[in-house]
């Protein structure tokens, strides 16, 4: 089923002996069709897993880049329905690349939790990352999602101490997303040594793969994190690439091509065989 698409991808990455590249884009940014063009070319560009941001008017954990992308998408008609439509179309051509929806709870709550889970599964979504649903609120969405076979990926952060980690890792499926900094998306990068230590700490508590994100912007940073993490997430830098191309007046095809080229550059960082830690 769908959660196993994530497991299968991490199994094949292990077999290849390398980390995965997770590419984040905001659904509907800058406009719906361009967003689809970008999305459908991501696997070929080297994205092993796709995180699709669900636009929200008040993204409290996001920096200026992803805030602006969400606003841009909403102004151009993005909605939960249309985000799911993007996934549905993507799935018609790609059966293997996991797609994870990332965002905030209110648009899901307003949609109706049961209905959203059903529609997301039907569209081919593999998992959810919901920033404002900590373990304390698991009964809202996490437990119903897991019960239906939709993955729920938890964020662990530098402030999640050893006492709290088990609670955070409980009811997590697919992988653990380690937020490498205390801060918002697109902020300054963390010190790689500290992040490596944190990943080791998480591994003591969980057998799940660990993806690392927040503040990772360049191919060199990707390569560095790929040495110790199971996957590397890049978001704001890709979103910035879209914004720059849009502002330069590029066509939809040109914007998509530019993003794919950028992602290919980032993905080169995970394709090098990992050194043993």
């Amino acid at each position: 089923m769908s959660a196993s698409r994530i497991d299968a991808r991490f199994a094949s990455l292990r077999a290849e002996g390398r980390a995965g590249m997770v590419a984040f884009i905001t659904a509907g940014d800058p406009v719906h069709e361009t967003s689809f063009e970008i999305l459908r070319g991501l696997p070929a560009a080297g994205a092993d897993i796709i995180e699709l941001g669900m636009p929200f008017s008040d993204p409290m954990a996001d920096g200026p880049s992803i805030q602006a992308a969400g606003l841009q998408a909403l102004q151009n008609g993005a909605s939960q329905q249309r985000t799911l439509e993007l996934v549905r179309r993507f799935r018609m051509q790609d059966k293997d690349t996991p797609v994870i929806l990332m965002g905030y709870y209110n648009p899901i709550y307003r949609y109706g939790v049961a209905q959203f889970i059903a529609d997301a599964l039907a569209a081919g979504v593999d998992g959810l990352i919901v920033v404002d649903l900590p373990p304390e609120e698991d009964s809202e969405l996490c437990l119903p999602a897991l019960k239906s076979g939709l993955g729920f990926i938890r964020l662990a952060t530098p402030t999640t101490d050893d006492r709290r980690l088990p609670a955070v890792l409980n009811n997590t499926s697919g992988f653990v997303y380690y937020v490498s900094i205390t801060g918002i998306t697109g902020a300054a990068s963390a010190d790689a040594t500290a992040v490596a230590q944190a990943v080791t700490r998480i591994r003591r508590h969980s057998a799940l793969p660990v993806a690392v994100g927040f503040g990772i912007k360049t191919a060199a940073q990707v390569a560095e994190v790929a040495r110790f993490a199971d996957a590397v997430v890049v978001g704001s830098a890709i979103v910035d690439c879209i914004a720059a191309a849009r502002k330069a007046g590029k066509t939809s095809a040109e914007i998509a091509a530019g993003v794919h080229e950028f992602v290919a550059g980032l993905a080169a960082g995970v394709r090098r065989k990992r050194e043993t830690a």
Partner: protein, 406 residues
Amino acid sequence: MTATPPNSFRSGPDAQGHFGIFGGRFAAETLMPLILELEQAYIKAKADPAFHAELDDLLTHYAGRPSPLYFAERLTEHFGGAKIYFKRDELNHTGSHKINNCLGQILLARRMKKGRIIAETGAGQHGVATATVAARFGLPCVIYMGAADIERQQPNVFRMKLLGAEVIPVTSGTATLKDAMNEALRDWVTNVRDTFYIIGTAAGPHPYPMLVRDFQSVIGREAREQMLQREGRLPDSLVACIGGGSNAIGLFHPFLDDPDVAMYGVEAAGKGLETGLHAASIAGGQPGVLHGNRTYLLQNDDGQIIDAHSISAGLDYPGIGPEHAWLHEAGRVKYVSARDDEALAAFQLCTRLEGIIPALEPAHALAYVAKLAPGLPRDHLLCMNMCGRGDKDIFAVARMLGEQLS
């Protein structure tokens, strides 16, 4: 309507921070350990007589409590109905009820050894109160304020700067209170280890709605005692304005289990509920999740938050504290609204008849009193919370009345 009322309306929230289905802890993981730590620190402080002694001393000698309960004789005559009392929280140091909460929270910050204070502000009242207590205790302070609000609340912006706070304009979204709160949360998530976020209204993730309510309940406790002393009985009705609802919950809470005391929370109807340009989350919103809690929110069908509108920067927020959402559904408090033009008329009326310049926020409460009082008997005791003074608003009001102040 037929649901059995709870044994007490004053026992919430539960251990998870819920008032019925409202409230909760919808916060990013980065903040969760601190939020849990704050809850523990508050539970400990509440049980510590030294904490209460220090807070009471500050409330008395620094903030100037108790605030008077004033019989508004000429407004009572003017409306020709209920006997109108004002709870004069505008006479507090810094000019509003906000200082009650800020003193409580900064004492918690000190106990938790947090060396930096942040806050959001709409009208600037909470920002001024926060900057004041930060100055008093020598802590650096950053205030997030919507750029649009900075424009309409210049005197308070300057006050905060004089007090040594850094005021950071927020230009995202509609550049008002909700965006300031988003930005304060972004700061907090970035500087969580050394920073204490003094939330100004009875909203946010648990335990904030509870602790803000507790710190503001001094208003209702005093009003209760003062009314008993003046009139020998409890008031018949209470009226307070609602943005997030901290002054209202502070007045209401000590009376919630007195079934004969009617309560009215007055939301800002802006240009009119039918225009969509308002800040009335209960009248015009649906339950949703924002800023750490589930409550009534102005939102569209897709769950995107809709911008609020009000003449009053302090009420210009698309949500309401979760305890109010619950009291609404439980039917204990009646939530009503007043438009911009009605508030502006009440502002002028109060100034002329009572010699009290109200803030535009309580002017909304008074605008509803103007509708309610005339139909009530003369022995009906009505207590309205005059939660802020209007000095900060005179430039904005002058503009609306077409006067030029240089």
